[in-house]
């Protein structure tokens, strides 16, 4: 026997009742009051129930004697659900309502698992498939836009020499490639989608041989032919899209947290891309009969820059050069290739060098 409160759907008067629980039904006995002794019998098939928490349940009779029963009794809730379960399976929500915080935390973990899986495997995969379908003209437009927004000064004389230097090599690229030298104190070079390659003068000055320059260009062109920028863009966009869909506008704080995590993760994307560009760049050098050692020399040159900065590999986008040197060595050893003289390249390289050592 349990105690509950009954409402008849006509007036807001609470009538105390005692409840008997059977395997497939409930019986309500009205106690005391002016009302003549009355009983209600509800089959489980004629009721709907709302489990509020493990202490409180609301049961509504939908048959001829429509009425609502409310019971605040954890023992009743447990016993009733045991009998009622056969009629209706338990859902996830019920688990959260009855299990309290512990169940919630488990579900939270499951969600985290799903999000992580989607973030690290499903979404990048989907994004890559999207890139496969994007026309090359998209890269071109993107590159044009990026170039317009950066608006970097151009060293015309050096750019002409660099273009002539690059013309000595055969590129396996569907885009027309544009090579530019930009005056800057930063030792860097980059590739924009659509075939734009920009080398900063500071980096150019550090290169000692034509092979190093060829390696640098091969690496940057590989970024373009692999469409790394577009891949990265699609991956980033798909992630943020799903994130917004899932969380809506719930909390800018979460959003900020995520964007930081996202930035860190996109670094690992980048490292993966850098390695791919290194390997593909080596292949370009081989097919042009350029000495692959140029790539190693380039790395060693970059290593000197690294020592100035001392960034842990986890937060740096280029795989640290020690690591790079290791796999470049391995790659060269595995793929020996004949080397040509390239007198014309040598000549242009020396002209370039002279531009900066007047």
């Amino acid at each position: 026997m349990f105690k509950g409160v009954y409402f008849n759907h006509q007036v807001a008067n609470a009538t105390p009742v005692t409840i008997q629980l059977f395997t497939e039904s409930l019986q309500l006995d009205f106690i005391g009051g002016a009302m003549p002794a009355k009983k209600l019998h509800w089959l489980f098939t004629e009721i709907t129930m709302e489990l509020v928490d493990r202490n409180f349940i609301r049961i509504t009779g939908t048959g001829t004697d429509a009425g609502t029963l409310e019971v605040s009794d954890p023992v009743f809730v447990k016993d009733f659900l045991q009998n009622y379960k056969h009629i209706r399976g338990a859902g996830l929500h019920e688990l959260a309502l009855r299990g309290g915080l512990k169940a919630s935390l488990l579900i939270l973990l499951a969600i985290a698992g799903i999000i992580l899986a989607a973030h690290f495997w499903v979404l990048p995969w989907c994004a890559d498939r999207v890139v496969d379908r994007l026309p090359l003209s998209f890269d071109k437009e993107l590159g044009d836009m990026a170039r317009a927004s950066m608006d970097e000064p151009v060293d015309t004389a050096a750019s002409q020499l660099l273009t002539r230097f690059a013309a000595q090599m055969k590129w396996d690229a569907p885009d027309t490639l544009t090579f530019t030298v930009a005056p800057s104190k930063i030792e860097n070079a980059y590739a924009l989608p659509g075939g734009y390659i920009v080398v900063y003068t500071a980096l150019l000055k550090r290169l000692k041989t034509k092979e190093e320059l060829a390696a640098l260009l091969s690496h940057e062109v590989a970024h373009i032919t692999c469409r790394h920028s577009v891949h990265k863009l699609c991956r980033d966009m798909s992630t943020s899209l799903v994130w917004t869909a899932a969380f809506g506008n719930s909390g800018a704080a979460t959003g900020a947290l995520f964007s930081n995590a996202g930035a860190l993760y996109s670094l690992t994307y980048s490292r993966q891309y850098e390695e791919q560009a290194d390997i593909k760049g080596l292949a370009t050098m081989r097919s042009n009969h350029v000495n692959q050692q140029g790539m190693l020399q380039l790395m060693q040159e970059l290593q000197k820059l690294d020592h100035k900065l001392k960034i842990p590999e986890f937060v740096s986008s280029h795989p640290l050069t020690d690591n790079r040197i290791r796999y470049v060595r391995r790659e060269i050893a595995a793929n020996p290739a004949p080397v040509n003289d390239h007198a014309e390249m040598e000549k242009i390289f020396r002209q370039l060098e002279q531009l900066y050592h007047k």
């Binding site: 807001a12 609470a14 928490d53 409180f56 929500h93 799903i114």
Partner: protein
């Protein structure tokens, strides 16, 4: 406890509203909602909302009985789909206009017309629909609430008030807020009980003017006291009356200091848990409101009778959600 008697000789009641839920359970509900919403790419939204409201309402107790939210996911899904379809339709239209290459004054006029349509017609339509649905699905001891406002009347009132607010560069806003609130609450029923709200635009304007000036002078600190004043003005003028002229009146006991405590702690919790404490914050806020509203009068809640019909069209409710109008 000694029984009090009012001037009419009827006993005075002090029904207490309290919240029985806990943050952990509510957190669980939100988490499951989130999980299912992610998996279904957002389609679970109506069911998620139903689960959330069911828990919040059923955890709220008055006179020993819990409130009830009887809206269901299926019901709200219909309205949800209609609204989503409308939004998709709108985008297709916008795209078509773009594709036709309309530019300059033509597209400008179209944008302006759309804006007027949304602000003058769609918002009041959503508010009306949301009130109709929301209150019809709210009950206590199986007695339903209900909203009896007239849609055309409300849209006309809204348009008039909004126009006056625009013409007066926002100064009329206080009057508008009060007139809209008066209309909505005066058409609200709790079974045979009728709500009444007596907000005065001038009083509300003075309150806001004072709040605004002092907030600027105190570099924002006064804003909590301003909020408490607004809260008090919203609560203190609510009454529930019955046919035989018995009445229950509400009174706010929240002070600016208490409100500051609540809001500052809420903000700190939110920031330092990266939003995970959201469930607890909402529960804290609900408990605060309930602990700071006193109800007093000779109306007997147990005498309220069922009078309100059921209303199952959730389009307005969903539209209000999408427009991000927090009405109720």
């Amino acid at each position: 406890m000694q029984q009090e008697y009012g001037p009419s000789g009827n006993p005075i009641n002090r029904p207490v509203i309290s919240f029985k839920g806990d943050g952990g359970t509510y957190f669980g509900i939100l988490i499951v909602n989130m999980l299912l919403t992610i998996i279904t790419l957002g389609l679970y939204y109506p069911w998620a909302k139903a689960k959330r409201l069911q828990y919040l309402y059923s955890s709220t107790e008055m006179e020993g009985s819990r409130f009830e939210w009887s809206g269901t996911g299926n019901e709200m899904f219909k309205g949800f789909i209609i609204v989503v379809a409308a939004i998709v339709g709108y985008y297709i239209l916008a795209f078509a206009i773009g594709a036709l290459g309309l530019t300059g004054p033509v597209s400008g006029t179209l944008i302006a017309l759309t804006y007027v349509f949304i602000v003058f017609l769609l918002i009041p339509y959503a508010i009306h629909g949301a009130n109709r649905y929301h209150w019809s699905r709210t009950s206590w001891r199986a007695i339903r609430f209900g909203y009896r406002g007239d849609r055309t009347e409300f849209i006309k009132l809204w348009a008039k008030e909004l126009l006056l607010t625009l013409i007066t560069a926002g100064i009329y806003g206080s009057w508008m807020t009060m007139n809209i609130r008066n209309y909505l609450l005066r058409n609200l029923r709790f079974g045979s009980g009728e709500f009444f709200y007596d907000g005065d635009g001038w009083e509300y304007f003075k309150l806001n003017l004072k709040g605004c000036i002092l907030t600027v002078l105190t570099l924002g600190i006064y804003s909590f006291w301003w909020q408490a004043d607004i809260f008090r003005y919203y609560i203190d003028n609510i009454r529930l009356t019955s046919k035989d002229n018995k009445v229950l009146e509400c009174r706010s006991t929240a002070t600016g200091g208490e409100l500051a405590g609540l809001l500052i702690v809420n903000m700190l919790m939110l920031v330092f848990t990266f939003g995970i404490a959201y469930a607890w914050i909402q529960i804290r806020t609900i408990e605060f409101v309930m602990n700071h509203v006193e109800i007093r009068g000779d109306l007997e809640l147990r005498e309220l009778r069922q009078t309100e019909e059921e209303y199952r069209n959730s389009t307005g409710e969903n539209l209000a959600d999408m427009l991000d109008l927090s009405i109720i």
